[in-house]
């Protein structure tokens, strides 16, 4: 079966900094890929290429369901069913909850007139079903600034889930979350597979990644250091390998391909 998404020889340089160097990467249909790597390894940069925010350097190729995509734009990526929870959360603090949920794709008629009622109603529903806001004090008009870290993260995840994604990318979603919030977040990720969709799950903590991922890819200084299917390796073996990567930059004999 052809992969849902594929990167071939993708590089990205910012001036002097080579953030990505010749990346080959793929996500299968209904597959959860765990992406590991140190700070600055290039994980977020790769995410932003997949969402059309960054354009890769010339020479790199991007395929979606086997089809070559030349200039992926943010709107196009979303149209193709790629949703993302950015590491920086991409929220607008002084705006209401509903404005954040529908940021960049407001419900509107063809003249651009906003469907305020619809957006408030949908946000109200999401608050109960997905975000688990039970407090009566939070409304679709609540300003995001007043939310806790976990709640803000909930907003970002909810936003990604709401728009019928095929592939959900979560960039360090557990960062700054409490234990119970982390639990909930990991359940979300597990639920993505159950729903028949794909995900890229980025997290520093291998204890978070290992249980939910089907396959694990390790990035190191802008290059893929190795990858393997989860059932090829125990958690302890993985931890040992990661130490190896930190020392040598490669996941020697890491199985997989």
């Amino acid at each position: 079966m052809e992969p849902f998404l594929q990167l071939k020889n993708v590089s990205k340089t910012f001036g002097e900094v080579a953030a990505l160097r010749g990346i080959n990467f793929e996500v299968g249909a209904n597959e959860i890929v765990g992406l590991l790597g140190d700070n600055g390894a290039g994980k977020s940069t790769m995410v932003k290429i997949l969402t059309g925010y960054h354009q890769p350097d010339p020479g790199g190729e991007l395929y979606l369901k086997g089809r070559r995509i030349e200039h992926l734009s943010v709107a196009q990526a979303r149209g193709l069913g790629i949703e993302v929870v950015y590491q920086e959360r991409a929220l607008a603090d002084q705006q209401s909850l509903w404005r954040n949920i529908f940021m960049g794709r407001e419900l509107a008629d063809r003249w651009g007139r906003l469907d305020l009622k619809g957006m408030r109603r949908e946000t109200g529903k999401l608050m109960q079903t997905l975000m688990g806001f039970t407090s009566a004090a939070v409304s679709p008009d609540s300003v995001v600034k007043t939310f806790s870290g976990g709640e803000r993260q909930g907003v970002a995840i909810t936003r990604a889930l709401y728009f019928k994604a095929e592939l959900i990318i979560l960039d360090e979603p557990t960062m700054g979350l409490s234990l119970s919030e982390t639990r909930k977040c990991l359940d979300f990720v597990a639920g993505i597979r159950a729903a028949g969709k794909s995900a890229i799950f980025i997290d520093h903590n291998i204890f978070h990644v290992y249980p939910v991922a089907d396959r694990i890819v390790v990035l190191d200084r802008g290059a893929v250091a190795g990858q393997f299917l989860k059932n090829e390796l125990t958690l302890q073996e993985l931890i040992d390998r990661l130490y190896l990567v930190a020392q040598t930059g490669s996941l020697n004999g890491g199985g997989g391909k």
Binding site: Y53, R78, A90, M103, K145
Partner: protein, 332 residues
């Protein structure tokens, strides 16, 4: 003020939340009322007669027309200081087209088009070249004023022929013998801009762009186009206001626009729009414009000289921006 109290429990439901949500609007209306009472006590003879109201309804629109779309630029996180020159640039376009075609209407259209062009150019310089809007629009302010002086050779233009056309009653006539037409135009501008800011996708993007540029871009908001459109709107309004001002006195002075900078900016900031972008209302700007206009009319009526007017204006700008900074810091 109750701001502090409310912010301690920002999520209390019902009335408290509504009050908080509309606190800026309530505050600005309160200020307007307070100032009005002050004038009423200070000079009841002037402020119980309706002439003074007719006077300030006719002169406030000169800058209120620009302050309303300028609110969009500032909510989007930018600033425009070039509009006084764009007022004159629009009239220069009128000047040229009118003298060649002898058509007042064509001249009027040229005026508006020149305003949009100048505003759009501001947007392009800021967005595509990346010059900070403060610097870019100070630059274009000088540039357009220079163009005006070169083209007109510093000479004014009498506008009596405009009086013969329908444009005159349409823009500066007295509706019902009392309401200046430009006052109604200001209300119309406010309604249109309010609609786009609050009921249209464009306005949603204006708020998002000014609130967090990076988030907006990540989520696919076309922040460049949004900013360019806000600058173009100010350009359009400046040309329109320039035409109204000139028509009202039936003369175009190449220095047109000088003296409008502070009134216009003060209206936006006093109206509660944040210097940092992301928040602000058309309603606040609208009411604040008339506060500034009333202070103008009131000070003159109270017998203070023009220099005192400047002192009070300056005080209001500094005070309102300070207040705004303090309040928004506290709400964080």
């Amino acid at each position: 003020m109750s701001g502090e109290q409310v912010s301690l429990s920002p999520r209390r439901g019902g009335l408290a939340r509504r009050m908080r949500k509309y606190s800026l609007q309530i505050g600005i209306v309160g200020v307007a009322f307070f100032i009005w009472v002050l004038f009423l006590i200070g000079s009841p003879r002037t402020f119980l007669r309706r002439d003074i109201y007719a006077a300030f309804m006719s002169s406030t629109p000169y800058f209120a027309l620009m302050a309303i779309p300028l609110t969009l630029v500032i909510i989007a996180g930018e600033i425009d200081l070039s509009f006084p020159s764009i007022m004159a640039f629009g009239m220069t376009a009128f000047d040229v087209v009118f003298l060649t075609t002898h058509s007042v209407w064509l001249g009027f259209l040229a005026c508006l088009a020149a305003g949009v062009l100048a505003g759009w150019l501001n947007g392009i310089i800021v967005v595509k070249i990346g010059v900070p809007s403060l610097v870019a629009t100070i630059g274009t302010q000088f540039f357009w004023r220079g163009v005006v002086m070169v083209v007109t050779n510093g000479q004014g233009l009498g506008l009596t022929p405009v009086r013969e056309t329908f444009l005159y009653p349409l823009l500066v006539g007295r509706i019902g013998g009392f309401f200046p037409a430009q006052f109604l135009w200001t209300i119309a501008f406010a309604l249109v801009v309010w609609f786009f800011l609050n009921r249209h996708r464009f306005g949603a993007h204006v708020y998002l762009t000014g609130d967090n540029l990076e988030s907006a871009r990540l989520m696919g908001v076309n922040v460049h186009r949004t900013k360019i459109l806000t600058f173009a709107a100010v350009g359009f309004a400046a040309a329109f206001a320039g035409f109204v001002v000139s028509e009202d006195v039936l003369f175009f002075w190449p220095t047109l626009g000088e003296g409008y900078m502070l009134n216009t900016l003060a209206s936006v900031y006093l109206g509660g729009t944040s210097v940092f972008g992301g928040t602000g209302t058309v309603f606040g700007t609208f009411v604040a414009s008339f506060i500034i206009g009333a202070i103008n009319a009131g000070i003159v009526a109270a017998g203070l000289t023009g220099f005192w007017t400047n002192v009070i204006y300056g005080l209001i700008v500094v005070t309102s921006v300070s207040l705004q900074t303090v309040v928004s810091r506290r709400m964080r």
